[in-house]
Symmetry: C2
Subunit: 227 residues, 2 copies
């Protein structure tokens, strides 16, 4: 990368940080707990999110979701089956979501009507790292099908996350997934990172994942009282 593009990129990131701070203040004022889901393409974010939206709605919570992809609105149509508010962001070739895209897509929503807002980012283990979306929680997915080495190869994103979801655990045996190596690598990059093992297909780990979300939302709301 040339110095010139680096300089311009810094300006873009500064602008994004300012917009993300505004979003964070709006989420805080509305009491909506916002979660940014990041991963490689095809790590199973959409399926886990589909189950998460349905489970939260079933227990009386009010979730919503924004879903980013370079093209197609397949994921939004799929998630909308859960009956909760969902909106697709098509980035048209941009490899990550930006705070401005999130802001533009919130225009017609009353945030105070939501308890949770999930933002499913574009599948990308590098460029999503630097773009704050105003989220309270950043969750990085590591599918067992991808290999245990990904945290070491892409340390920036894994280091920026608040929690890791090890996904597609139903395929762990077929992939000869080395669970200990994955945990060691995750913690080498981000010591103490909470790790949740899940399968969107079988439902394994869903109750722990939902309990984790409830707990983090509670902490978010409590910290807001002093905020």
């Amino acid at each position: 990368m040339t110095p010139r593009i680096l300089e311009v990129r810094k300006g873009v990131l500064k602008k994004n940080d300012e917009l993300a701070a505004e979003l964070r203040a709006r989420f805080r004022a509305a009491g909506v707990f916002t979660v940014n889901l990041v991963s490689s393409p095809g790590a199973g974010k959409t399926l886990l999110l589909e189950r998460t939206l349905a489970a939260l709605a079933d227990e009386g919570a009010r979730p919503a979701a924004l879903v980013g992809d370079p093209e197609t609105d397949n994921d939004a149509r799929r998630l909308a089956r859960s009956g909760v508010p969902v909106r697709q962001i098509q980035t048209h070739g941009v490899c990550h979501l930006e705070a401005a895209m999130v802001g533009n897509n919130l225009a017609q929503w009353d945030l105070a009507g939501f308890d949770y807002l999930f933002i499913e980012n574009v599948g990308n283990l590098v460029c999503t790292t630097s773009y704050d979306l105003g989220e309270a929680l950043r969750v990085v997915f590591l599918a067992v099908t991808e290999g245990e080495d990904k945290p070491l190869k892409y340390p920036g994103l894994f280091n920026s996350a608040d929690a890791a979801v090890v996904s597609k655990c139903d395929l762990a045996a077929a992939c000869e997934f080395d669970r200990d190596a994955a945990r060691t690598n995750l913690h080498a990059v981000r010591p103490g990172l909470p790790i949740l093992e899940t399968s969107g297909k079988t439902g394994t780990g869903m109750s722990e994942w939902l309990a984790y979300l409830r707990d983090r939302r509670r902490a978010f709301l409590e910290s807001g009282k002093a905020w």
Copy 2:
């Protein structure tokens, strides 16, 4: 993306195109057939490449490889076990290889000593699209574990490829991979795209893949006579 970053990006891509044209002329002059392998992180490029290098060396061909990752030299160490010349490019957070990185890492090699040069790109389905590396052949991987929808979501990269490798086919049944849907989606984005179905683990499809490489290299050398 703002107009300003777009403008600078155009300048960077123009510079990359110029460097890629120089590389392409060098590869042509040396008679080395260069293949750019692109995919999501964890799609199985390294394992298939490991087997490919060993098989080509076994039949008396002279392959070499450059391998890109944001961090670590794990893949180069792994590929070097095949005994062929391998060099790691650590991009340090850059999400794709660029022609300049390739050029810098060729300095100590005599290209005329190679028949094939494989360039394993950083795992990324978006940003790798626009960076020509001077390759004669661009091969995009779609792992069966990623889902059949990826060509539709990331059409830019799939459209830019000369061939698709459907990888990790040993996991197709476990993933309930819909082969027909994947082929339909690949051809929707790039009509007529050759599709090779492989498993680096079991070796399925290796002979077809190697035959395809030999055939494309032969066509490359023959076109060079008139060039």
